[in-house]
Symmetry: C2
Subunit: 429 residues, 2 copies
């Protein structure tokens, strides 16, 4: 049987949506890799009674491991350790050696700020050096230490207390999982496997019918835990299973690959971004964008090492910029409109030339909410991918969604056109 | 007394972090506007027993209103209505009129796909027309209807069931809140007020000391619920209070404004992005970027109506692009390196000229993880904001964080330089 886990994200700024939680998803991945079954993520504000209620809920659900994130900062609203100590029945004690180590970390950091109130720094320092009796300290990656807090009575969950800033949480994770208390909490975890398929250019309902058909054909189908979802314009299918069901998963994968050959583009978890990056090896790419306003270039330059293959991009938002930067002629814009297949093609050709690139992707469209016309309503977008040999792949669609969705999904279509062009394939279905 | 609410986000894709939840934050804002106190957000996968446990938890916490998001799709893993109907003690019944309305919505949508399996579409249609007895239907904005489900025994929470896609959820919200069942659930909510201050260029610990001092000086300080957090390189301070504490909040605001005059830039909730957009009225801006790879242009073009003031941007990732697009001389790059104050200044001047813009922001840096040197380690970034009159504001910093954080926060610094330049102010503290 697998250990069930829960994640508690604290912070009024997260509960009220001012700050996006990035730790839940990250911790979720780590737990899965260890074969730990994540059952619940809960989010509460900086109110001790609400956090305590969530911890009690997780204990009542039989959760053996709880990871908390946030609430370890220097301000008075940071209450996590106080709550966890009380919940676990382990009083807080000042760890003087830890207090000194934190002071050593703070000293150089504080030089950056002029006229700093050192008294404030010292008070914060002391608060962060309080440790629940019997807990294992995880050395800080920023200024806040983490803790692994075992249940005081042998029952109840082991609680791993980590700071909110993702970089610190990531850096401290390995140390946390190496503690004796953590190993004891996850004893007996079975290794679940997870596999993912990604498809582009297909509605989710088509996958649903394929799955229903597979259910009636494949023995052991019920041992696969399958979820599908739409994400940034792609359909993702994820199957989670115990080692014994690996054969059934292989059969399902083959069944889907056969039925959806034209739209299934990833069977190994790779994203289209990664595939494009690999296909570009030795070649350079440039972007020419209007409605996406830099998002296509930003997406191409997101992976580490992108400088090896990204030449650059032109954000030709105004028509004048399309002319000056990309050599699109005013006559062409006049004749067809800035959002047209012709202008997209001219932008791609211009980007190839200006950046001396091997392949280019151009996007022009109406992201809205204003600027739509009867002929070119909001969501009308034209793409053109072109290589230096003159091969092109063009597309023209009316995208659903609001301004942010149209901009974001337009980069997904751009990525898929690049992928197909680089693979020498025809236009998508 | 305020009605307490909970939000339940369902979907294995959200629990496992493959899809980011955007509904929790949005719903949180809406509830606050209505004076409803959000206590908990919980996230579960597509497992009915986990969702049911979360609903029971919220009921046990005295929550009077629960909003669920997701799990209304056509696939078999979409289980929300089944769980909610059982929890509320209201059996599911097929609503034939609703089934026809959904069919009418689906028909034109399905024309987009060739060779579609219509049987799959019809099966999905029927599933989405099942309604818990006594619930109020919310007409679909996509294909899935929502529901407002009152407790069958008069106790327990009223449950508002909404679809996962944010655009649909947004479009259906007003209809949901107008139902009699919803109004009954929130009767008695008191209007909390919330105000926000934003500061840039100050550590969080300095705000903590200011708050401690305010606590000892201002009567009624305890009636303010104050949280602070770091977000994209800025410090946000949020105060939530009942109407009677408005005067205390005004006093605190004045106290902070006096102590932090140089770093407090927003007292009305406005973001630096919005302020820059307003300051640009009648002027045009261009971006010249290296390490941010298009993110600065994307951020400038994010607000609706950005085409009125954004001329465009040059993503000069390769040195050749800095030369070809922005007129930076190879000699300058050779002499000072691509990441230098001199090259940033030349990029800004080049952007002003190429885009014929009134103001430009240039960013060049080492986002990592590779490419750092002893002299210019990862995180070294140079900015230059320049206007057509020749006024400049430059900055050179070593940014903490990983590649994504360095890229993102570099755009925040860029925004603040633009803001100060447009206001005719000097460099930030």
């Amino acid at each position: 049987m697998s250990t069930r886990a829960g994640i508690v994200i604290t912070g009024t700024e997260v509960l009220t949506g001012r700050v996006r939680d990035r730790n839940g998803p990250w911790l979720s991945d780590r737990l899965r890799e260890m074969g730990i079954d994540l059952a619940h993520i809960t989010i509460c504000g900086d109110r001790p009674q609400d956090m305590e209620a969530q911890l009690s809920f997780l204990r009542d659900q039989g959760v053996g491991l709880v990871i908390t994130s946030g609430g370890l900062g220097p301000t008075a609203d940071d209450l996590t350790l106080e709550v966890v100590a009380r919940f676990a029945g382990r009083p807080l004690e000042l760890d003087k050696a830890l207090e000194r180590r934190i002071a050593d970390i703070l000293e150089p950091l504080m030089k950056r700020w002029e006229n700093l109130d050192l008294q404030a720094v010292r008070a914060a320092n002391r608060k962060q050096a309080l440790v629940p009796a019997g807990a294992t300290v995880i050395e800080p990656a920023g200024t806040a230490p983490g803790m692994v807090v075992p249940p005081s009575d042998g029952a109840g969950p082991t609680i791993v207390v980590l700071p909110g800033p993702p970089r610190e949480l990531h850096a401290m994770w390995d140390q946390a999982t190496a503690t004796e208390a953590f190993r004891a909490a996850i004893r007996g975890a079975t290794g679940y496997s997870q596999a993912m398929l990604r498809l582009f250019g297909i509605p989710e309902s088509e996958i649903a019918v394929t799955l229903r058909e597979a259910e009636s054909r494949l023995t052991g189908f019920g041992r696969l835990e399958i979820t599908t979802c739409l994400r940034r314009g792609e359909v993702e299918l994820v199957a989670r299973h115990e080692p014994g069901a690996a054969q059934t998963w292989e059969e399902l994968r083959a069944f889907i690959a056969e039925r959806h050959a034209g739209t299934l583009f990833s069977t190994d978890g790779s994203t289209v971004d990664l595939q494009v990056a690999e296909l570009l090896a030795g070649r350079t790419v440039a972007a020419a964008e209007s409605c996406t306003g830099g998002l296509m270039a930003a997406r191409l330059t997101e992976p580490p090492g992108a400088s090896a293959y990204v030449a650059g991009g032109a954000v030709a938002y105004a028509n004048e910029a399309k002319v000056a930067l990309l050599g699109v002629t005013p006559e062409l814009i006049e004749a067809h409109g800035a959002v047209s297949a012709q202008v997209a093609e001219a932008m791609a050709a211009g980007a190839l030339e200006r950046f001396d690139a091997d392949v280019a992707i151009a996007i022009t469209g109406v992201a809205g909410p204003d600027g739509g016309t009867e002929d070119k309503p909001v969501g009308s977008v034209c793409w053109c991918a072109m290589d230096a040999g003159g091969a092109t792949l063009a597309r023209e669609l009316r995208m659903p969604g609001d301004r942010a969705e149209i901009r974001d999904r337009s980069t997904t279509v751009g990525m898929h056109l690049l992928r197909r062009l680089l693979r020498g394939e025809g236009p998508p279905a």
